[in-house]
Symmetry: C2
Subunit: 146 residues, 2 copies
């Protein structure tokens, strides 16, 4: 792994999997742009680090045990791209679906860009949102016994 690939793997693990908001300044440039991310409420916006932490914490609230697993990583120019799978338990309401306590799985891919100091400046991302929607619907129709 290159320096940037190692940084990105650490960023995914610490920030997105463990939810370490305090680690955000170790990885992020002062400004971070969500260039493309269909369905993300912040798509198209440029965030400062406080704004990024707000996005992180809001995104993780329904799925606090979420885990991204990187299935492919490669680098070109100032970008590192990852393909990933994701799994979580649905712990709080999202998109009108109340918490089900059920597992949800998803896959996607993200192109992360770096500045000359190896800090993250933004991403281009796509995920299989329809798969998530179908799982939320199925879980709402047949709730787990809790």
């Amino acid at each position: 792994m290159t320096t940037r690939q190692k940084l990105l793997a650490d960023f995914i693990e610490r920030v997105w999997n463990r939810g370490e908001s305090a680690a955000v300044p170790e990885f992020l440039a002062p400004l971070y742009t969500i260039r493309h991310d269909p369905g993300d409420p912040w798509e198209g916006r440029t965030l400062d680090q406080a704004g990024f932490v707000e996005r992180l914490e809001t995104s993780r609230t329904p799925f606090p045990d979420q885990r991204f697993a990187i299935v492919h990583m490669s680098e070109s120019g100032d970008s590192v791209i990852i393909a990933w799978t994701w799994a979580a338990t649905h712990h709080a309401a999202i998109a009108g679906f109340p918490a089900s306590g059920q597992p949800i799985a998803m896959s996607g891919a993200s192109v992360y860009s770096f500045d000359e100091d190896d800090r993250l400046t933004g991403h281009w991302q796509v995920s299989d949102r329809l798969g998530v929607f179908q799982q939320l619907q199925a879980n709402a129709a047949a709730p787990a016994s809790v």
Copy 2:
């Protein structure tokens, strides 16, 4: 671009954008596996070249003018990954939605694997199917005047 990156760009252009079924043997290994591709009817299957052509032609029927545009490409080990956008006109029925004559857009990413002779052996892919579904619904609710 490396040899494999050039081959993949040509494969996308000739096979998926132009629909050149006869060009498939120039690019594909004897067997091709759809390792991961949520929503693709062939997901999980290993196809010979005739099976791949059937998948190509079936997939292109609703969207004969489809175009993938590669927005990122990088290579690692035996894989080349691309992030892409896609646009097409909805010309024939798909998933219960009759042809609308309207444009549809999508984005996704694909990890293509090569054998030692630089032939494609399969892919791992994800796309924003929910975005497509929402566009098909919107177009069905407000059909174009044709």
